[in-house]
Structure formats: structure tokens, C-alpha cells
């Protein structure tokens, strides 16, 4: 087995056309596309810090006094009142929101500017100083406590006024929605467990949407390193399958079978060769791109581990594609299937987003693209670059793994074991 794989590597290293296609072409295209489309990508993916107005009409002490008066009026015993007031102070929604808006994790995205009144904030919008503001009404915390602890009133109301219908408006909306959702859930849990589970005061826990909205921007070199990598990796499969067909045509395969080798050993060797060559091909491209353009230079060890894991799973898919194309060409005694697939690689690459981000496609085309193995790999790589963890990209990776298993099973099933014995 090792000899067969070593032989495939040796032949590849001696075949200039294949080397050019599999190793140098993606790098050359990456240079061309990276330089020519660099600016387009930067403008599409980077978000400038934006200002958000905050109009706080509430005084917490007043709200607490009013809440205490209500509790006394309800005739609650003094210890219970003291306990509720402590809990209310600790779970003050106004404090939680102001803490969140000043949190470090949001600093890169937004800057909060305080306004004395709603009128002042409206004027700031009119003068385009800000595009959105959040108003905390006078009885915001009081209403929230009444609703949470006494099950009275209709709950607190938070007012968001935004003139932006773009990405900044969406981000702000997401931050507020996430805050409200998280606050409600945690407060409800705290009440249901009678204070044993406390409401979180850590602003970083208020919403994963906040985490999503600080995705790192992707530049053109990063995008096309991935795009060209996943596309040209697909060419490895027809290249090796064509060689396998040639081996049969020229009776080299027959020679191997006469040595006592089992046909399935040969098929497995093609799977391993396809996987190994693709892995080396992708890692070479990533390394070269990082050395020349600093593509992944600032990434941490965790990113590289995730990158290697994803690359390995995509390489396994290309290996299984190699084995299925080998099986089909040997079974049909015809290399046209391999040629047919080879001519479709560009279509797969387009659908998978190797040339243009799939965000620009229609929803239907986007879905199709993400179901192509190269598209799934591409999106996974991009998500890793944006700071997602390997666990988060696993659903997409699992598509690649599923397709790998299917391709392997089919290739073994159709491989002409009997005829070539």
C-alpha cells in the first residue's frame, strides 16, 4: 500500500502539468484575484465604529423607593420586603443595559453617547451626529420589577429609535433584543428557583448576537486563498482517476494484480493518495499565502488546529471522490466520466463561492452552494476565519463527512472486483 501511495507522489512530482495545475495555478489566481478585488472585499466586510445615543430618564433610587412603597402597601412582612429589594437592586435592568453598552466587547463596534433628553437625541439624529438612540423611560426598572416579582403591570418598555436600515441598525436591534431575551430568561429562572439561581450581572452573558456581530473582517487574500484552495483541490480527484485509467489501459494495473495484490488494495491506495495529495496541496497553499501575504499570520494556535482538522476532512472528501471516479472509469472502461467531472469543477467552484461570495446569490442558489462539498468547506473555512470555533462549524463539516462516507461506500460497491481478479 505504502509503495502505491509513494509511487503516486513520485509521478505527481515528475509531471509538470499536474504540478502546475494543482500547486501553482491556485497561487497564481489567488495573487491576481487578491490584488484586483482587494478593495471590494475590504469595503464589504469591514464595519466602522458607530455612535449610539442613550437617553436615561430613570433614577434607580426613585424606582426602588416606589417599589418598596408598593411592597409595603401589599402588606408583605419586613424580611420579605428587604429580600425582594436586594434582589431587585441586583437585577436592575437599567444598570445591566448601561453596563452592556459600555462593555469592552462592543467597543470595536459602537460608541455610546449620553443625552439629557429625548429631544437632544432627536436633534443629534437630525444633524446626523448619531443614527440611533436607546431611551430608558422613567419607570423602566420599576415596571420590570413589578412584572417580574409581583406579576403586575405589563412589563418594562425600552425604546429604540434608529434611522439606519443597514447593518449598524441590525446590529443595534440584535444587541437590544438579545439583552431583553436574556434578561427575561434569567430573571424568570431566578424567580422560579426563589433566588437560588441569581440573575447574571455579567454583561458579556447578555447575548451571543453580540459575539456574532464582532466577526473579524475577511480580506480578499484570505477569501481567495480558501476559494482557490478548495477549487483546485477538486482537480486532484480527476487527475488521479485519469492516471488510474491509464494504468489499466497500459496494463500496469494488470501487472500489479499479477503480483497478488487485491483490487481493493489498489482502490484504497487511490483514496489515501487523493487524501494525502490534497492535504499537502492545501497546506502548501495556506503556508505560501501566509508567508507571502501574511494571510493567516496573526492567527492563534486554536485557529491552526481547527484549520488542519477542517483541511483533513475536506482532503478525505477529495480522496473519496478520487476513489469513486477511479471506480467509475474502471467499471465503465471509459475515462469520459472523469473528463466530464473535470469540466464541472468550475461550476462546483462557482456554486461553492470560490469566485464570488455566496451572500450575493439568491437564497436557493446559496443553499445549493452550501450543499456542494467545496461550498460547505469554503463556508466552514470562512467561519473559522471570522472567529467561529470548530464546534460551531461542525454542522457544515458533517455534510462533508457524510458525502465522504457515501462516496466511499459507492466506490467500493461499483469497483469491478471480479472482472479484474
Amino acid at each position: 500500500m505504502f509503495n502505491l501511495i509513494k509511487k503516486d507522489f513520485a509521478i505527481l512530482s515528475k509531471t509538470k502539468s499536474d504540478l502546475l495545475e494543482l500547486l501553482f495555478m491556485p497561487f497564481i489566481l489567488l495573487i491576481i484575484l487578491g490584488f484586483s478585488l482587494g478593495n471590494v472585499f475590504m469595503s464589504e466586510f469591514s464595519i466602522d465604529t458607530f455612535k449610539v445615543g442613550l437617553v436615561n430618564e430613570q433614577t434607580t433610587a426613585k424606582s426602588l423607593d416606589r417599589f418598596e412603597a408598593d411592597l409595603q402597601e401589599d402588606g408583605l412582612p419586613a424580611p420579605a420586603i428587604a429580600e425582594l429589594l436586594t434582589a431587585a437592586e441586583e437585577s436592575d435592568p437599567e444598570k445591566a443595559l448601561t453596563r452592556l453598552l459600555q462593555d469592552e466587547s462592543l467597543e470595536e463596534l459602537m460608541e455610546t453617547q449620553n443625552f439629557d433628553s429625548e429631544k437632544a437625541a432627536e436633534e443629534a439624529i437630525a444633524s446626523e451626529e448619531i443614527r440611533s438612540y436607546i431611551r430608558i423611560p422613567e419607570n423602566f426598572s420599576y415596571n420590570a420589577w413589578k412584572s417580574l416579582y409581583l406579576n403586575e403591570e405589563n412589563g418594562a418598555e425600552l425604546i429604540l429609535n434608529t434611522q439606519s436600515d443597514g447593518i449598524t441598525g441590525n446590529i443595534l436591534q440584535s444587541v437590544v433584543n438579545s439583552f431583553i431575551g436574556q434578561y427575561n430568561v434569567e430573571s424568570s429562572i431566578a424567580i422560579a428557583t426563589q433566588g437560588e439561581a441569581e440573575v447574571s450581572t455579567d454583561s458579556s452573558e447578555y447575548g451571543e448576537v453580540v459575539q456574532l456581530s464582532v466577526e473579524e473582517p475577511i480580506n480578499a487574500f484570505q477569501y481567495y486563498t480558501i476559494g482557490m484552495g478548495v477549487m483546485f483541490a477538486l482537480f486532484t480527484a480527476p487527475s488521479l482517476a485519469t492516471r488510474a485509467f491509464k494504468e489499466k489501459e497500459q496494463h500496469v494495473f494488470g501487472r500489479m494484480m499479477l503480483s497478488g495484490m487485491r483490487p481493493l488494495t489498489y482502490l484504497v491506495s487511490k483514496f489515501i493518495s487523493g487524501t494525502s495529495i490534497t492535504f499537502v496541496q492545501l497546506i502548501t497553499l495556506f503556508t505560501l499565502s501566509t508567508v507571502v501575504f501574511g494571510t493567516f499570520a496573526d492567527k492563534e494556535l486554536g485557529f491552526w488546529i481547527a484549520l488542519l482538522t477542517l483541511t483533513a476532512s475536506y482532503a478525505l472528501f477529495v480522496g473519496s471522490l478520487t476513489s469513486i471516479l477511479t471506480s467509475v472509469s474502471l467499471y465503465s472502461n471509459n475515462s469520459s466520466t472523469v473528463g466530464f467531472f473535470g469540466s464541472f469543477v468550475s461550476v462546483f467552484a462557482f456554486l461553492g463561492g470560490s469566485f464570488t461570495p455566496v451572500d450575493q446569490f439568491s437564497e436557493a442558489l446559496k443553499k445549493v452552494g452550501n450543499w456542494t462539498p467545496n461550498g460547505a468547506a469554503m463556508t466552514s473555512y470562512l467561519q473559522l476565519l471570522q472567529g467561529f470555533s470548530l464546534q460551531e462549524v461542525f454542522p457544515l463539516m458533517s455534510r462533508i463527512i457524510t458525502l465522504t462516507v457515501i462516496a466511499l461506500v459507492v466506490s467500493v460497491w461499483i469497483f469491478p472486483k471480479r472482472r479484474l481478479e
Binding site: 515528475k14 500496469v252 494488470g254 499479477l258
Partner: protein
Amino acid sequence: MLEVKNLKKTFKKTVAVEDVDLYIEEGESVGLLGPNGAGKSTTISMISTLLPPTKGTIKYKGKDVLKNPDELRPILGVVPQDIAIYGELSAYANMKFFGKIYGLSGSQLEKKIQEILELVGLSDRQKDVVDTYSGGMKRRINIAVALMHNPEFLIMDEPTVGIDPQSRNYILNMVKRLNGEKGITILYTSHYMEEVEKLCDRVYIMDHGRIIASGTKEELKNILSNEETIVIEVAERKQAFTDLLVSQKGINQVAEEENNYQLIVSKGDQLLGEIFEQARQTNVKIKSIHIQTPTLEDVFLHLTGRKLRD
């Protein structure tokens, strides 16, 4: 040693080989002679266990090799008609690869590579890439690879196709030595009659997928014991002259090639006078006439009405 009975192979509706019976004794050199498309390569693909027959049996030392190919494969070396090696690699790398898949390693492998390279006369070019070799050198390395595991039985499928006379001679002498000195049993297919005559003890003649004659060279030539061959060289062949020769009583077969006519005639018939007269009538200028003893080529012409290279 090897016995083939009633072998048949069909590809869809085309019958490629039918009713082939042959046997090979240990240490023999047997020829399978026939024109292109006669079914020789299909027959040896079946004998070498790479292509299952539609019908028939192949037994090696009494054991069915179709059911148990591993009975034959370890002692079998096959030289395919195609150059079945990796042109991108050197001769040395090819031999190392095939030696390893046959289980050779270390000093044993190295020793074997050098021994075979010496035998085929390629020691000094062993590190060169095969694609840079001449046709004759490629043929020699093609044979070398088949010898890496010391086969007792060597099947060679037209191993001299498309090479220069010098390389061809080298290969023929090498095959003779493999059979004579090393005792390797050889099944040699060719459409070159002179190769089979030089190398083989016994010959099977194939045409249209069937064995049409077999025996020692003498036995086959005895088929023509009552006939002889007249070869006429003319300045230019003419259809009218051909027609007259075909209709001439006593001429059994007429074959044409370039400026030659090859006639199989009944021994003792005095036909030269008639032939000269027919040439005069059709304005054909005869440059020379030879009367020769039959060759295997003549036997094939007699049996099929065609020349081997038609």
C-alpha cells in the same frame, strides 16, 4: 504444465476467441502466430488470469487457475504489448516499485535490479527517465520488469512491435537465452513469422479467434509438402495480371505485397512458361523469380489465403 481447453471469449455479441485448445510443457518455447486481430492478446490475457473466459478451462499442473489464480500468478511473468511501466519514472524506480510489490526488499531487491538491468543491457541508463528512452530500450525495460520475481513461465505479447532491427535482434537473443539458459517456459505471440521460427519449438497458428493449425515447425511446413512457393518481383503490379494468376490452374494461392506476388503452387507443375506469357499479355515487367521451400508464412497463406501482415 499448462493446459487450455475449449477456451471462448465473447465481448457483447462479438466472439473474440473460440474453441482454443493448447498445452505447454515445462521448459518449452511455444509460439502463438497470427495476424493483428486474430485473438492472440485476448487468449493470453485469459491464460494470464487477467481476463475471465466466457467458457473453457485453464489448468496449471492440473489445478484450475480460473478458480484459484494464485496457483499461477506467483510463477508467471507477463510482458504486455503496451509499455506497461511508468514513463515519468526512471528504469531503476520502475524496477524498484514492481520488485517491492512482489515482496522484494533491501539488498535482495537491489541485487535483482542490477542483475536484470545487466541482462537487458540498460545498466548505464538505469537512472534516466523511461520517457527519454528509444522504442527498443522501452521494450527491454518492459521485459525487465516482468523478470523481477524470477518467473518460471513467461508470456510475451508481441514484445518487438515497432522497434528497429538491432533492438529486435537483441530482444530475440535475450528471449532465447531466457529459455535456453535459465529454463524459463515461454509463450510468445507475434505476427512476425521469422521471430516465431527462430524462437519456438512448437507453434499455434490463430486466425479469426480460432487455432487453425498447430505443431512443430517441421510438422506445420509438412502441410505444404506437396506445394512450393514462387515469389515474383515485378516493376509494377497490375490487376489484370493478378486476375490471370488467380485463374491459372495449379496456382493454389496468390498474395500481393508491394511489387511482389507470392504464389503457392503444386509441386512439379511447370508453370513458369504460363506465368511469363501472362506477364507479356498484361504488359507486366518481371524483374526476378524465386522458387523457395515453404516457410510458416507460406503455411499461413495456404491456410487462410492471406499474408500474416494483411
